[in-house]
Symmetry: C3
Subunit: 481 residues, 3 copies
Amino acid sequence: MPLGSNAYEEMKLQSVSSHPLGAAAVPAPELLCIFGTGDLGRSLGLRLLQSGYGVVYGSRRPHSCGPLPEGAQVMTHAAAAQSASLVFICVHREHYGFLETLAPHLEGKVLVDLSNNLKKGVYPEANAAYLQRLVPGAAVVKGLNTLSAWALQNGLLAGKQVFLCGNSAEAKQAVGAMATKLGLTVQDRGTLSAARELEDFPLRLFQEWRLPLRVAVGLIAFFFFYLLIRDVIYAAVEQEKDISYRIMIALANKVFPIVSLIMLSLCYLPGVIAAVLQLYRGTKYRRFPDWLDRWMLCRKQMGLVALGLAFLHAIYTFIIPIRYAVRHKLISRVVDEMKDNLTTPFYFDKTEAWGTDSFFVLGILGFFLYVLLGLTSLPSVGATLSWREFSFVQSKLGHLTLFICTAHGYIYGWNKFLRPSTYKWYTPPGYMLCLIVPSVVLVLKFLLLLPCVDKTLTRIRQGWERTQPKEEMVMTKATNM
Amino acid sequence: MPLGSNAYEEMKLQSVSSHPLGAAAVPAPELLCIFGTGDLGRSLGLRLLQSGYGVVYGSRRPHSCGPLPEGAQVMTHAAAAQSASLVFICVHREHYGFLETLAPHLEGKVLVDLSNNLKKGVYPEANAAYLQRLVPGAAVVKGLNTLSAWALQNGLLAGKQVFLCGNSAEAKQAVGAMATKLGLTVQDRGTLSAARELEDFPLRLFQEWRLPLRVAVGLIAFFFFYLLIRDVIYAAVEQEKDISYRIMIALANKVFPIVSLIMLSLCYLPGVIAAVLQLYRGTKYRRFPDWLDRWMLCRKQMGLVALGLAFLHAIYTFIIPIRYAVRHKLISRVVDEMKDNLTTPFYFDKTEAWGTDSFFVLGILGFFLYVLLGLTSLPSVGATLSWREFSFVQSKLGHLTLFICTAHGYIYGWNKFLRPSTYKWYTPPGYMLCLIVPSVVLVLKFLLLLPCVDKTLTRIRQGWERTQPKEEMVMTKATNM
Amino acid sequence: MPLGSNAYEEMKLQSVSSHPLGAAAVPAPELLCIFGTGDLGRSLGLRLLQSGYGVVYGSRRPHSCGPLPEGAQVMTHAAAAQSASLVFICVHREHYGFLETLAPHLEGKVLVDLSNNLKKGVYPEANAAYLQRLVPGAAVVKGLNTLSAWALQNGLLAGKQVFLCGNSAEAKQAVGAMATKLGLTVQDRGTLSAARELEDFPLRLFQEWRLPLRVAVGLIAFFFFYLLIRDVIYAAVEQEKDISYRIMIALANKVFPIVSLIMLSLCYLPGVIAAVLQLYRGTKYRRFPDWLDRWMLCRKQMGLVALGLAFLHAIYTFIIPIRYAVRHKLISRVVDEMKDNLTTPFYFDKTEAWGTDSFFVLGILGFFLYVLLGLTSLPSVGATLSWREFSFVQSKLGHLTLFICTAHGYIYGWNKFLRPSTYKWYTPPGYMLCLIVPSVVLVLKFLLLLPCVDKTLTRIRQGWERTQPKEEMVMTKATNM
């Protein structure tokens, strides 16, 4: 992180050789100024003091501004501004007014705007742009606004990324150096025009999760009512049986795996569509449609929602045998068995044993791979993977998971597909509906892996274009990575 | 990271334009000196060599000091110190004596004290302070002592946070620049007076986990004996039945969920108490009592211990049906059923089916949310959340989890609260006791969410004070964040 | 991060005091040049623009090179190179040829080689070394090649570690400063001779996982066939029963825990061997044999594979009661019970109840500790642990886990060890075989913890050597950490 010019001067004066650096020679710490003695101001001051800075608070009432960190001074705003070249503005935007009158004292200073708004789009301009307009002679740097008073106070900053923007490269360097000293990782986002974006960061609420969650809720609602009609209402109407107690667990345990499988396949569908589009267009140099781009950007969240549903499915399955209804059914079956047949040994259906066990094993393996995929999507685990490892896990392992989970679905219905009783009220059961998308994805993926198709696709992804004269292509596109 | 002055000189001499930087022009690497050829010294040297530094070891017996990393030189301490401006002291404090005699050779050098002690509080002063006293002419920097030889050797340093302290800003800059080059994140902790704190870091042993673990152990012990008396001893005394085999699983599976629920509510109780305190005091500018501060700081660990117990409860529940005693009971029930009633169909209690299924579903959903909360408390996941997302998860989702888990507890006893047989020896069952704290927390939280209370609390948290003249308040406090 | 010399000049010219830094005084951003307009080139350009740099693309056909990020300029290679001091080479190695003719224009520039190969060992020299040979007058820096176009485009760079190497320290400083500005953590790997290693990084595919996975596959195959013969084939041959349906779940659920336990003990065996070796040799200053070193380096992966198998074992166990075969067996048992004994109450074996419950409890606790160990091996969790905490978890908690899981295995066979029917075809059952290694590890570990042995070992690890005269030892070795 480059130095501010005064820091450089300081260094020139005290070179290692000219005077020995003993315990006695503690240099006066660099002074920083904080406007505002609220939670954020106080936590920031504490943290700066811990990192070896001197801190001066600017306050309207320097003598009655509540408890401040030990070692900090309090002055009037003007005096405080005078004593430091960096001023942190820890004041709500609504109260920026007083800064205009202070403008002469802030001439040439670096002002760090840490403010956030409570809602998006309340003001026409960003807080930092407003501040710059009020104090045109200062260099405003927007940033550090993603830090909470809580994190500052408890030293939870290690490696945390913060964003800076501002029109003065030098001012950003000074702020960046300070932030690096606090243990933060700084990312420069350019000029002050990015301030609005930075101010919206702390207000984001699971933006990239919204589409996946909406898809999940929509699918869950659809399949819930579909199965409610087919199972509970059908039984009530046609057989005059009340099996509504099944809603809580038996029905939910059908909905969750169905939606989970569909959402898993929706993770891999956009990749397949993109490949088909590239093959059809014969080039990779045309942008994908917007909906495809947006879809591809939320694949990770889509997959994690699917994993959550698979996790619920697993737990719902584990508690099946301790349910009252299941135990009741088991006991009834024994009683029936006894009454019918007290002499011959109870018949053991080996096909049934193989079928159900295969069904369970595929489910277990699928869930295991699902969890593996989820683990590698943890930021700290993903960061340790090489590019090839990441693509191996997300592509090969991902498609294998989809294949196994789809097979798990097929085996569930292996002996039911051709039975007329399966199609109550002429509707297909839920597990059949949920197999459509995964099957399409798997078939398309299989076709894309055929040598001839794969070869063309690889060439297209390396820059080859079908419509271009071949010679020229080699010269221009294929040279680029 | 700012430059040391000699680094600056070096740069001025070899500017980009003055001589081309070809493969031939490899500049001599900067030399660093290490005193001590033990594990740490060797690993550090290896790592420095990998990062492009030259390394000189100082040793008492330069010709017989065991295997050293390839490329490093070995000299006497005095000669080694002469050749570098930065000296790493990888020697135990007990052997610092020889450094006093070397003091003239270390004049003006930066000494990095990496030493740790085996126990806390053995010496009256920090190792680094002692070193500074022995070599007053050098600039001692304490730091990097949290790195292990193992991590250094295996390159596991990426982004790891290290702490520095020292009286010379320049010396800290030089060490910090070196550490940044190794891929470490540096945090400056001020002057050498912080050295003792830094030396205690590697000796910490789950400090913030102690209170939660003690609470957990205490509660587990209490409920274990309470339930032992109520269940096993009661049965032995009053019914003369030996049901001691239930201790291992059935009793443990009552204790774990009870303690888990209580500890989850203890995560949210301090927040509620703090809010009530602020409402009562009418200001947020008075410090909370110490016990409340300490409690609030270990909420995360409290919650994770609760999650661990909930995890145990889940597994204990999953294996219920494969237990010998359970299978035995099931078979006995069938046999009894058969003997009593061989003709009429076995009665199915729909209320029971709904009740138990609701109980299970609430348990599953509660556990699911529990796990979500646990995942967001992983450092790398939490770091990706915005402030609003984090507070949404920890507050809204947290209280929802508590609500669902409490409802899980209430449904467990839904038809037992009014039964006299529930109160063996006039004591309430465990699940009733465990519902007290969560219910209190939820009721208080609900009251705090009432519009009139919530509004006052929000104003207090924005700086408003009840006792202050209103006009003044607006001027001073409300301006601060 | 130190400054390049031109950055320094810039700073001297615009000092804070000499001219105020207002919104109007936006300095022209530093220009960087990118050769290559492929995916990587475009993503990198986008990212650089976001961080406040200016970007100039060099292209053979500046007027038809596809969509580029907004704000970037496109020129011929020569013109683009002229305008910047840093040139990113985002071109495949196969097309480096044109750079030779550009060499005069690249004199004195810093060239960043981001190229990767599709396979290892295709070319005799590293891409970066080849580039340096083509353009000897430039300073080639190899690095950033582990970044994917995807990560660049989506801003997933925070704290990601990148590696740099190059012969010019100044060139590396300039590239490092740029990378730090993008939010990356830079690690310097020395001179250009490390380029080959850096180019191999993105091609690594779970290298450190290979040995553990091979061991796991080998053990699984061995125990699968061993148990297949003992269980299924034995039953077919000797009892003429077809129990092949057991392969899917019952047999797999024996193989997984067996291999898991063996692999867990293989995590701790090398540590024990190392200690015995140090005791035998009486010194820690002799290198361990290569196989032991390699083994010790993959202990973490070994443990995680073991955890994966334990996870499978847990799920296989949870679904036992819903299996067709198990339910069938239960019903058959009731029917048999009824026929034999319709009057006396069904016998309850308390020893059996205690035995099986202890077995389950040990399994649950073992799995719980297993998961804890796995969680602490997550990079972000491990990073928050102090050295003492990490060693506590990995050594004490690890050996406790091994002890509990081994006890789980012993209790499984508690009443079978002396039964002749256990030894079908004179072979011991699988669980006996799997107890050998863990038992050896635990016994050795116990012996190493005996006070007399432990004391000697601690002294050896602090540098003491048995063969050395004692006095000298104190002087040389014991001083080092």
